[in-house]
């Protein structure tokens, strides 16, 4: 490397841009460059064509656009709208197929006949009047089915068809012996395994 002997070390504070450069930059801020409309139009169309090729799912060499790159081309508001719609749809389906009372029961479609949305306070008396027991003035949502519920349904079925839908615990549209068995099975189900 050749070093000029005329090179003089200058202090950073003394460095100044050339005057011509400074004046030219100042004029640039004030002057708006003229772009003919035809040139503007050509550039715009070229940009559209280029972006249109990228948005189609194949590049010029026939390969696929990477998925990440594809996602970036989707307008952000559309992506958020799609995600929100998906979440709402999933929540709706979960709510429909897994009502809260069925979480502790046999599984999909099993409904606790002690559905307090339709039931009322318990009155000691005939089995045909058996409804959920209130707890401290309010309706309980936590009373678990027991064998007496199965027994009561079995007794009622002996007297004829049972029309109350809340007894259709297996969700097959019919209240019959299978619902009796389903209640009995639920009554003896061990929570969290059989270990003591």
């Amino acid at each position: 490397m050749r070093i000029s002997h005329n090179h003089e070390e200058k202090d950073d504070a003394d460095l100044q841009a050339p005057a011509e450069l400074v004046s030219a930059l100042k004029r640039l801020a004030q002057e708006r460059p003229f772009v003919p409309p035809t040139v503007d139009e050509v550039v715009f169309r070229a940009a559209q064509q280029h972006l249109g090729k990228v948005q189609s799912k194949r590049t010029e060499d026939g390969g696929r656009v990477p998925f990440i790159q594809f996602l970036r081309l989707i307008p952000r508001w559309k992506a958020w709208l799609a995600a929100g719609t998906t979440v709402i749809a999933i929540a709706f389906l979960v709510y429909q197929f897994f009502p809260s009372e069925s979480r502790r029961t046999l599984g999909v479609g099993f409904r606790n006949p002690l559905d307090f949305a339709r039931g009322g306070p318990v009155r000691e008396g005939a089995a045909s009047d058996r409804t959920p027991a209130p707890m401290q003035g309010g309706l309980s949502h936590e009373r678990r089915l027991d064998i007496l519920d199965a027994f009561i349904l079995a007794k009622r079925l002996q007297g004829g068809p049972v029309q109350e839908r809340r007894w259709d615990v297996n969700g097959d549209g019919v209240v019959d012996e299978r619902d009796v068995r389903a209640i009995a099975v639920e009554a003896v189900r061990l929570d969290k395994g059989g270990r003591s």
Partner: protein
């Protein structure tokens, strides 16, 4: 390669549970015994019962469940199959007929496999008892280990 290792770890990890079973009773030291379950409904005919039985000292596991002596509860009661080979079970049965037992009656028998000749420690809790109308009644549950002849 990393994916294969992760998949193998998952498969073997899940399979490990199959082999991680509790040790079987030693040869020659285990014994089978039976515990009779009684419900005393006093003067009221017993139409339905539900009770929980637990071996509290962990020396025995449930290997079988049998019905009671009266015709109304002669069939084996309802129970969770998961109780087999474990120490806790919930039994329940009912009968809609007219011939029902009253007083103290054996409603079920639980067969156990014990690890040794030591005493069993069990707990029995009556969860529900009902009369022919489905109304809850006061009753007492008890159990007794059947003595081998």
């Amino acid at each position: 390669m990393a994916q294969i290792l992760c998949l193998a770890a998952m498969v073997f990890g899940l399979a490990a549970g199959l082999f991680a079973q509790s040790a079987a009773p030693e040869e020659g030291r285990s014994r089978f015994c039976a515990v009779d379950i009684y419900v005393d409904s006093k003067a009221t005919p017993l139409a339905a019962y539900q009770l929980e039985f637990v071996v509290t000292n962990g020396v025995a596991r449930i290997v079988g469940i049998e019905g009671g002596e009266h015709a109304a509860f002669h069939e084996p009661p309802f129970y969770d199959p998961k109780a087999m080979q474990h120490e806790r079970v919930i039994l329940a049965a009912f009968n809609t007929g007219n011939k029902l037992p009253s007083g103290k009656t054996r409603v079920a028998t639980i067969h156990l496999q014990a690890a040794d000749n030591g005493p069993l420690q069990c707990e029995l809790k009556l969860q529900a008892a009902g009369n022919a109308a489905g109304v809850r009644i006061a009753a007492e549950a008890s159990f007794e280990e059947r003595k081998s002849p």
